[in-house]
Symmetry: D3
Subunit: 228 residues, 6 copies
Amino acid sequence: MGKDSGSGRHGRILVINPNSTEAVTHGIDAAMDPFRFADGPEFDCVTLAGGPPGIETQRHVDAAVGPICDMIEREDNAADAFVIACFSDPGLLSARETTRKPVFGIGAASYSAALLLGEKFGVIAILPASVERQRRAVRVMGLDARYAASLPVGIGPASLDGDAVAGRMIEVGRALIDRHGADVLIMGCAGMARHRAAVEQALGVPVIDPTQAAAAQAVAAVRLGGRS
Amino acid sequence: MGKDSGSGRHGRILVINPNSTEAVTHGIDAAMDPFRFADGPEFDCVTLAGGPPGIETQRHVDAAVGPICDMIEREDNAADAFVIACFSDPGLLSARETTRKPVFGIGAASYSAALLLGEKFGVIAILPASVERQRRAVRVMGLDARYAASLPVGIGPASLDGDAVAGRMIEVGRALIDRHGADVLIMGCAGMARHRAAVEQALGVPVIDPTQAAAAQAVAAVRLGGRS
Amino acid sequence: MGKDSGSGRHGRILVINPNSTEAVTHGIDAAMDPFRFADGPEFDCVTLAGGPPGIETQRHVDAAVGPICDMIEREDNAADAFVIACFSDPGLLSARETTRKPVFGIGAASYSAALLLGEKFGVIAILPASVERQRRAVRVMGLDARYAASLPVGIGPASLDGDAVAGRMIEVGRALIDRHGADVLIMGCAGMARHRAAVEQALGVPVIDPTQAAAAQAVAAVRLGGRS
Amino acid sequence: MGKDSGSGRHGRILVINPNSTEAVTHGIDAAMDPFRFADGPEFDCVTLAGGPPGIETQRHVDAAVGPICDMIEREDNAADAFVIACFSDPGLLSARETTRKPVFGIGAASYSAALLLGEKFGVIAILPASVERQRRAVRVMGLDARYAASLPVGIGPASLDGDAVAGRMIEVGRALIDRHGADVLIMGCAGMARHRAAVEQALGVPVIDPTQAAAAQAVAAVRLGGRS
Amino acid sequence: MGKDSGSGRHGRILVINPNSTEAVTHGIDAAMDPFRFADGPEFDCVTLAGGPPGIETQRHVDAAVGPICDMIEREDNAADAFVIACFSDPGLLSARETTRKPVFGIGAASYSAALLLGEKFGVIAILPASVERQRRAVRVMGLDARYAASLPVGIGPASLDGDAVAGRMIEVGRALIDRHGADVLIMGCAGMARHRAAVEQALGVPVIDPTQAAAAQAVAAVRLGGRS
Amino acid sequence: MGKDSGSGRHGRILVINPNSTEAVTHGIDAAMDPFRFADGPEFDCVTLAGGPPGIETQRHVDAAVGPICDMIEREDNAADAFVIACFSDPGLLSARETTRKPVFGIGAASYSAALLLGEKFGVIAILPASVERQRRAVRVMGLDARYAASLPVGIGPASLDGDAVAGRMIEVGRALIDRHGADVLIMGCAGMARHRAAVEQALGVPVIDPTQAAAAQAVAAVRLGGRS
């Protein structure tokens, strides 16, 4: 990655993909383009060596924490903000103990952004097991009153590239709108990045890419001086 | 205003100060600088002619809706996103009926941003009458579980320039932290912009300028294509 | 209107219909009859000149605030309490800054009354756009735990006189009961007044006319001396 | 009691005081006067023979249910609505199984009315043991978001006549306002009726007499035809 | 009952079935077996003489309180803890005023236990009228966020012995899982005890017998010394 | 440990202390005694080799997950239930993916138990940093309505043996009761076990040892056949 790894004098945001699927990191990297400015912070998107192909279980989530914190420690002097690019926000709290730089989880950032774009947010999840994690995440955020539901597409995080994926996401999104009253949708996986425009166009409601939601916050944090 | 009113080919965000105090608009304009990029959207900060010197009562809030919507209608072709720069978010819902461009209220944007920076947010309000409005706003956002309290500085929106203001804000902020458990603070008025750094430095917790919180969202919305 | 505009020595309640549809005002006026006593406060039902035929959008709601407050100011010496007879409660908070007399919104009064008549209330809304407003109103009231749902009949406020309306309201009411667990219903528009008895008889659960809910509170406030 | 026990042709509301303290029933009876109209329903206030001097414990509450339901059964043909005049609402749900006539509890009616008169309600309780019951009642009503607190005066229900009582109520009310943010107060016992005006005048916020709150609802129910 | 009524030196837990159906008491008694240890507290399961065959209405619930408290008073010296074996928890609060020994209601104990076994609990209720009581109980427990729904089997408490009952419970349980998102189920009546294993096996999620949930707490309370 | 490691034919519960302080494990072991029956499941309390002396930070919590799951995997055939004896419930969800045997976290078990013993629970925390974790845990449990507060004693988990500790816990407990309205207390660390009786006696409200709360649930799960 790191196509904008230049002087770094405007700040550098490290985006960590905790799974080992390079295609996901490439998708994330492309999704960062709207947040790259000539005189703005660069975005470096990296794959966490040794992670599983996708974060599918709670054990995957928990196992990612150590390596994420290790990477943050190594990069602390070279980065001005961090984004943990997994919707389950693995290690978000531990990361904040590890660095004084701002750290954003893409799950939390998505929920926060959704509040400004509609009344009730729904989440297009990857797998059924993700749904319970998202319910808990919404509860720990204190956002039950704004949550429509999560519904899974039934496709693992390492297989989100296929052509049929957008179609399946649109089906699930429509169910969130029609049956659960959602008027804004969140894509529940960093690996769905490339499908955002297609899903938004098909459904006519705002669709949030979680890494982009975090990127907006990270740019602001870097420009405002962070808290380091 | 409009010091970056250039070609507009990168997008233009109109920031509307609904009160008639030019000093407040100047403060907002300066606060937008971190969000101005060489190849990013420009920020135009305008004062709503004919407004009261400060939005202090609910009647002020309600009376501002019509003029805000009128301005949005006039500017709709020339702007890519709108920010309503009053913490009471006057006319936010009406504005969304008026334009298909993204519209952000600085109150809602602040509450949303605070969720990512701490456990409990407190609001440094201007006047006692603001407190009830903020309680209602937090409830309509569905964020009661994350709300510490609002406490007023007792200084009207047109008098926030004085040297003693930061000191009073620090006092109130400390009470929000010590007595109400806040670990992130929101400045409850666009006119407090110039005091953010001083308050944050004195108190050691994140302090959110509401217009900056909305600016981050507006930049993202413009870059991602909005919903027009 | 004003068929009981007599001496006023027992108090006078001004009921303001903020839309310009006289048929709605007539329906409201008839609905006030059960609250008219020989020695009780009179009810004067007035149409707000210049309003839209129906309050259908948020812009309508916000645009009604100024004229409502102007009327309250003009009538302040001649009235002992005010009822704002639009389910969106336009200007309720501004009105309370305008007069020291008690002011009741028919939306808030309905939600309050429903708590005493059942476990879960459902709202028979007029238009799909009303539903979001009602969700927000319920949230700002803090009543989410008692709210079943809102479902629209799909008929605008100026067309609620037709014979088919009660039938459509019964259909929607039944869906609120059967699919959303409502055991008390609120009619979500002052213009539905004449259909209350028919809907209640058909469905077998309490059905609240919102203006009547506010009338009960207004009579009590006048008799207890108000807060003037 | 029964000073207005006349023809009953306009309806009759039976107000049941479940304790045996006649002075409390007299106070309630006087508090009903504002709701007595020449052509309105009469109010009959009765003392439940054999009750304790005051409902102070949960056992008192539970023990009152049977006698209350027995009285309602006996009076069912002669009454158009019932009010259970104890703030703990003993037997409210059982009473609704006993008669098809409307039944109102003064606790529930007070909480409902308070929603229309302020942002946060506080309760002037009689004894410390009442506080837990009120917390549970507020929770079962689903009104936590609007509840400031309950504070006890420390005077039993049979001793509320004394001259010092209003003074103590004012002290407690002021604490609810100053320390807990209440802006509307509920008197937590039917036996406090005579002190309402004094407390309201001293504190400058609305003060609700619970039996009056229920009376307003009962008059409306009788006039609207009840649900019998 | 009382097959383990021995020396009592290890403590004695009195389980009170407030209905008069002996078959229910027998079912409860058998359900206590897993909590009987050689050196643990004995469980004595008794039928409340004179109760109705089943607690089906609120009047039944309220009428049971006096006799339950009377029995607790009589047995206070001979028992170390009490279990009120009716899912509506009749007299739980009054019982706690009656004895200093620990008292557990099987409804409250079930809700508490369910929190540890899944994300959302559903209740297999007996009759439609039970559903409202359970909604209120969940609200007074403060557990709305974890509650899926209650659905009735439509069989009274005195008829739960039949062979078809388990089948009907499985149907209802599946609806709670599939349509309401429950992942742990509570049997909403002490009289369902014998069907627990069959329902759990058929549905593949934890199924809680309410009396067993209370038994676990009662054993712990006795072993830890209670609060007497 | 393992003083009751016998035949195991009645079941075996493995209690895992994830910190390396043996004194804590000894305290836990003693606290299990009331749950040891002649014919009941044995309790084996083990120290997680290689853990930190105390779980004080989120990094400690997250770092414990892997070793806890490894131990559960190794012991899965030899145990019938697991208790994770750290109040932060490290790895509770991952553990449930690791084994089909029941797993209980002592934090969750405590919150659940507290619901049955009082209206509002307060937590005697160890360090200020624990408080935020507890707030989040309460929110993810959905128990905000029953939570008074957490207050720290300011003593790390490895220093809880000292004579002054009970005194400090009593001070903090009294503040939870007097200033925050708690009527039941939870000890927020497994290492506080030995002080339970002293604190309960001094304060006169129920005091919950978290490992005991989990033990009660684990015994029940083993006796009822678990879900293996």
